[in-house]
């Protein structure tokens, strides 16, 4: 749209052409509105601006000043016998500095954007007044926020929540990737500081001869992708097949069957996962059953199981664990997918099926020519998001293998990774058990890049395909 100007152009024009009130309102928001006869609004915006500036002056500025070094004064404590309390010096807390600086950046950006909007809106008021029309009263203004600008009312709180609890933390963690925040540099007792791209070099094989992060990263990334692929497609097709099987006219009491499978959804995932972990443990009940049934001996005989093992290492040896985890994930994921597929399949236009039946299509053709394409067209995008979700599927891997799986690979062990770790579980353990926040942050960024590339490629492909269809 050629007529439409972007935000900055509108602001530029308003600022240049605005009268003195409009211009001043960039600095003191209320002045413009006072000048343009909107007292109530003037009061409100000045209050907001005041709060913002107050925060910046008293919390933002002191921390922003130390942003370059992330603090220089170490904590010192002295025990005071007369008061029986510790006396602490005025130390710097690197994490607090980072946190407050990030919040300040967000506040500054918000203040500038708001100031620009105030100027633009004042210019509008100025024009209205210049044209001799009446400007909105306060009540009318409120009304606007229930009508044309209803979206502002709707979005303010949720966006604020996302900014505070998602975006700011993400900024902080991205910043941590460029620092040396680890167990040797933990606030409040110690300081950490910027180290540039060192951590990224460490991840890609640099960082000294003893570092095995590069090796582990390649291994873990591969398994993450393999897992995400299998986890997504096994549950997807498993769910579809089960749904069609149950919904087939020849199946009696479909509702009963569906309910049976859905029982697994009703028990919270962490309960079932922890339960199943004990079910499959080396000396657990399932191994006892297998041994009694002779399966363990059978596996010994066909050479699938090392002779030295008296049990099947379902969750303790890499290849077995990978297999078991994917199986357990099918067990968990298929009922959900069945539920969704049931719904989607019911939505297939009846005439399409009817037409196919008249043409004499057999069930197999029906599945591959009509049902599957329909399901894919409906669920294609959600398959992509499922894949991303599985890359980040923390619960399944963590709950099944934490405290159970021990790696047999010294190189992985050195960088605290395991064969069955996903990038997210690896980074979680790095933070929780080894306080290696810097490497965890780097891994987090890598996860993001993997997911972003995958998503962009997939949606590019999907959009292209849709375009050729229509």
């Amino acid at each position: 749209m050629p007529g439409e100007k972007n935000f900055f152009q509108t602001f530029g024009k308003a600022f240049v052409k605005g009268d003195i009130f409009t211009k001043v309102s960039f600095l003191v928001w209320g002045l413009g509105y006072i000048g343009h006869g909107q007292l109530m609004k003037a009061l409100l915006v000045t209050l907001v601006e005041g709060l913002g500036l107050y925060f910046l002056a008293f919390y933002g500025a002191p921390n922003l000043a130390k942003f370059g070094t992330l603090g220089t004064v170490k904590m010192e404590m002295v025990f005071d016998v007369t008061t029986m309390k510790n006396v602490v010096n005025n130390y710097d807390n690197s994490f607090e500095i980072l946190l407050m600086s990030m919040i300040s950046f967000v506040v500054i950006a918000a203040l500038i954007a708001a100031a620009m909007m105030v100027v633009t809106s004042n210019y509008q008021l100025q024009k209205i007044r210049a044209a001799g029309k009446k400007t909105n009263s306060f009540l009318q203004d409120i009304n606007v926020y229930l009508n044309e600008k209803f979206y502002v009312t709707l979005l303010t709180l949720p966006v604020l929540g996302v900014v505070v609890f998602t975006i700011v933390p993400l900024f902080i963690l991205i910043a941590v990737a460029f620092t040396n925040y680890d167990q040797q540099h933990m606030p409040p007792n110690d300081l950490f500081t910027w180290v540039g791209l060192t951590n990224f070099f460490t991840l890609f094989g640099g960082g000294g001869m003893t570092s095995t992060f590069g090796y582990s990263f390649a291994k873990v990334l591969t398994w993450t992708l393999v897992w995400a692929f299998f986890a997504t497609f096994t549950t997807f097709f498993g769910g579809i097949l089960l749904a069609m099987f149950i919904n087939d006219q020849k199946t009696k009491c479909p509702k009963l069957w569906r309910t049976l499978f859905m029982v697994t959804i009703a028990v919270p995932q962490f309960v079932t996962l922890l339960l199943v972990r004990n079910f499959f443990s080396n000396n657990g009940i399932f191994n006892t059953m297998m041994a009694n049934a002779g399966v363990t001996d059978f596996l010994h005989n066909i050479g699938l199981l090392d002779k030295g093992l008296s049990y099947i290492p379902f969750l303790t040896q890499p290849s077995w664990a990978m297999f078991t985890i994917i199986m357990i994930n099918i067990w968990i994921g298929v009922p959900y997918q069945m539920l969704i597929s049931t719904g989607v399949l019911m939505n297939i236009p009846a005439d399409m099926i009817e037409a196919a039946r008249i043409d004499g299509a057999n069930p197999v053709q029906m599945f591959f020519r009509i049902k599957l394409p329909y399901l894919l067209s409906v669920q294609g995008p959600s398959l992509v998001t499922d894949f991303v979700r599985n890359v980040n599927n923390f619960n399944v891997i963590y709950l099944l293998t934490q405290d159970v799986f021990v790696t047999n690979n010294q190189q992985l062990a050195q960088s605290n990774a395991k064969e069955i770790d996903l990038l997210v579980t690896w980074l979680f353990r790095l933070t929780q058990e080894y306080y290696n926040y810097k490497m965890a942050a780097v891994l987090g960024i890598m996860v993001f890049i993997v997911c972003a590339v995958f998503t962009v490629v997939c949606f590019h492909f999907i959009n292209k395909k849709e375009a050729t269809f229509s």
């Binding site: 933390p169 069957w257 067990w331 719904g343």
Partner: protein, 299 residues
């Protein structure tokens, strides 16, 4: 004459054969289903059986416990000790779940409606941003979220936990938006012509039409505190067991030092949590499926 009877007999034989074949197939079909259902239910059965076991720890050798008792249930319900504070956990979780349910549902509906039905500058940008943010692993930001809460003095409080759950709930608007996309534009246009404000359209026309997605959103946000333990464990870190939610408490029962005396009570707790959720599911099943599929269809 005779030929016809022969024919008749042949046809009948064929028919009978067909019927037999059909019944055999039907039996096989149901056997497969039964087998699958059996596999799906084995762990659940183990959960149930163990929850009635007289053995307090894990029994490695017997699937069906030696003796049955209700003690595990009565113990966690009526005799809380320092480890198991189930009634307290249940209440804590219920409070968090109710608040989170209300706030999150509102947030999701608000964002979904704004993105789906309102036209404004920056809408596309907002959508892209939300997709991008969703690509970052959530566990990464956790430690920072903890410190954000700490500076707000909200750690170890349910308000803080609720804020964390509800705060980022706005990002999960996609399925709901997909549903709103299916609400005919003409309906809203007509209402607008009648002089209804956007707000009125939202509350009086779109929301009442969106029962399935409403139910779906409510169930999801209600269940969140019952299943999340990573975030909750981080925020409620006083170590005082009466402060915990069900998920942290049950998870804690399985730590090395406790598993041998608390495993069957863990199972009982799991069953007790599963009961309300199952009831919720059974009642809302229809809406749930409708919501998720209609949302996914356009999502």
């Amino acid at each position: 004459m005779s030929t016809t009877t022969i024919n008749d007999a042949a046809v009948q034989k064929q028919l009978r054969q067909g019927r037999v074949k059909k019944t055999i197939f039907s039996i096989i079909r149901h056997l497969i289903l039964a087998l699958l259902a059996f596999i799906w239910l084995v762990p659940i059965a183990w959960l149930l059986l163990t929850s009635f076991s007289t053995d307090k720890g894990i029994n490695f050798t017997r699937f069906v416990p030696e003796g049955f008792t209700l003690w595990n249930y009565t113990s966690i319900m009526t005799a809380p000790d320092s480890v198991a504070q189930f009634p307290r956990w249940f209440m804590n979780t219920l409070v968090v779940a109710c608040f989170n349910c209300v706030i999150s549902t509102c947030f999701v509906l608000m964002v979904a409606y704004a993105i789906s039905c309102c036209r404004f500058k920056g809408r596309r940008l907002l959508q892209n941003l939300s997709v991008t943010v969703n690509l970052f692993p959530g566990v990464l930001a956790m430690i920072a979220v903890y410190f954000v809460l700490k500076y707000m003095n909200l750690t170890n409080s349910y308000a803080g936990l609720i804020m964390v759950y509800a705060g980022s709930s706005g990002l999960g608007y996609l399925i709901c938006k997909g549903f709103f996309d299916t609400v005919p534009v003409s309906l809203r246009e007509a209402a607008k012509l009648d002089g209804a404000s956007e707000a009125r359209i939202f509350f009086q026309i779109v929301i009442p039409m969106s029962r399935p997605i409403l139910v779906y959103t409510i169930i999801n946000s209600f269940l969140m505190p019952w299943t999340d333990f990573v975030m909750a464990k981080m925020i409620l870190n006083s170590g005082v067991s009466t402060d915990w939610t069900v998920a942290i408490g049950l998870y804690n029962m399985l730590q090395k030092a406790l598993i041998n005396s608390y495993f069957s009570r863990f199972c009982a707790g799991g069953v007790l949590v599963a009961i309300p959720i199952s009831i919720l599911f059974v009642i809302m099943q229809k809406f749930y499926v409708e919501g998720i599929t209609s949302g996914a269809a356009k999502g």
